[in-house]
Amino acid sequence: MKRTALLAGAGMALMVLPLAGLLQRAPWSTLGTELASREARDALGLSLVSSLGALAVSVVLGVPLAWILARVPFPGRALVRALVMLPMVLPPVVGGVALLSAFGRRGLLGSWLGSLPGFPLPFTLRGVVLAQAFVAMPFLVVATEAGLRQLDRRHEEAAATLGARPWRRFRTVTVPLIAPSLAAGAALCWARALGEFGATITFAGNLPGRTRTLPTAIYAGLQTRPEGAVALSLVLLAVCLAVLVALRGRWLGTT
């Protein structure tokens, strides 16, 4: 028992000490000026826009995907589910290389799509959104699918017998019922998109005001202006804490 407590304490220290170090290093007195600098504002704005874009893409594509995975039996469903979840465990930089191999100028699809409007994607904000959505969408799909599976389908059947068409049924019955799962998935998806670094820098590159997101600005700034980098790190830390607190009931339990 004693040993268990000791290991548990060490485990907790491993998680908490780095954060304490970050807080201790933070330039509290100049935090405002650090965050108001042009570079910080550019990175903050760009990250906000791109992560919300990634969330929108994830909702539009991920909810139908979750629906199919939860409701439509088809051969190979387990495999498709595994593939959809792969980006959650794949090293993000590998994701970036994979995206380049698909959507890069010499990629699988990139060489066909190249002449279409909005392409090619590398070095553009759209590329940032794609990289973030690739990494973050699985969080939304997994949470939404779980919500759909736990749903008592009698509510939908009742709506059907009252003559509600599928889309109306989905909108007025299903969505409100799975709203907690959907919200949790969306929050995790957004937070993951906001913090995405490896896939973004590999696929979309790094240009201030165009593709330089918060994590890239932190990494680049760490070697020359550590105060600024730490200030931006605090922003990400605060956002992630806020997301966790908002999900408190679901993830942290009530005890």
Binding site: L100, G104, R105, R106, P122, F123, I201, G205, N206, L207, P208, T211, R212, T216, Y219, A220, G221, Q223, T224
Partner: protein, 236 residues
């Protein structure tokens, strides 16, 4: 089966003994030195760790066990000298910038000013990395105003952007343009070029300073110079 395991364990023990009995140096070196140092015959067991110069400085400051540190710019080394963490540095090589283009130079890039061509996808290194700073200096000298599509975080990333075709040109070290890199080099004339200076120094906290001094000394010796020259580095 048991015998196989036993002999495997014995082999491990023997291997452990040989590496432990020979003196080992740990050398922290700039990423651009990786290929040249691999060809170096230092005469002793050396473990290399390659990273960006700024990162190397941070490692030494943090007390990472190391015997020698070699950076790609003097500013980085000066920080260690001022903190009294290293002995007097020795400049052992120099490097110039070059324009990296796709094999065959399809964009017909001939001079630095061609990089200002509208619509040209140019990749540079970020200003936080020495090579990015040098590239800015060279462009300034030539009064060339460019609009890069990306500022990569190390020189190898610039090379890979050009090699993969995402970028049409980039500014890298002349030594990065190798047969294996997948890019072709376009020379930048000396009056516009920027010369990077590579200093090496013995880390004061190192466990084996006489051996470390010998390593640094050999870098500037005939064989060290030959190995560096073979990879495109200039004499100090």
């Amino acid at each position: 089966m048991r015998r196989i395991v036993a002999s495997f364990v014995a082999a491990l023990v023997v291997a452990g003994c040989t590496t432990a009995s020979e003196p080992t140096l740990t050398v922290l070196a700039a990423a651009s030195l990786a290929e040249a140092f691999a060809d170096l015959d230092p005469g002793e067991q050396v473990r290399y760790s390659f990273a960006g110069s700024q990162q190397l400085v941070a490692q030494v400051e943090a007390g990472v066990p190391a015997d020698v540190v070699a950076t790609a710019d003097e500013a980085a080394m000066d920080r260690l000298v001022r903190a009294n963490l290293v002995e007097t540095p020795v400049v052992f090589a120099r490097n110039k910038l070059a324009i990296a283009v796709r094999p065959g130079n399809p964009g017909r890039i001939r001079v630095l000013a061609d990089l200002a061509r509208p619509g040209l996808r140019l990749a540079l290194a970020d200003g936080t990395v020495p090579v990015g700073r040098f590239a800015q200096q060279a462009l300034q000298k030539g009064s060339v105003r460019v609009r890069p599509v990306s500022l990569e975080l190390d020189v190898k990333a610039v090379v890979s952007r050009v090699a993969s075709g995402e970028a049409e040109a980039g500014i890298v070290y002349a030594t990065d343009v190798t047969r294996a890199s997948g890019v072709e080099g376009v020379a930048i004339p000396d009056d516009l070029n920027v010369v990077a200076t590579y200093p090496a120094a013995v880390v004061r906290a190192g466990a084996n300073r006489p051996l470390a001094r010998r390593f640094v000394f050999r870098l500037t010796g005939d064989r060290g110079r030959a190995a560096l020259a073979a990879h495109g580095f200039l004499a100090p």
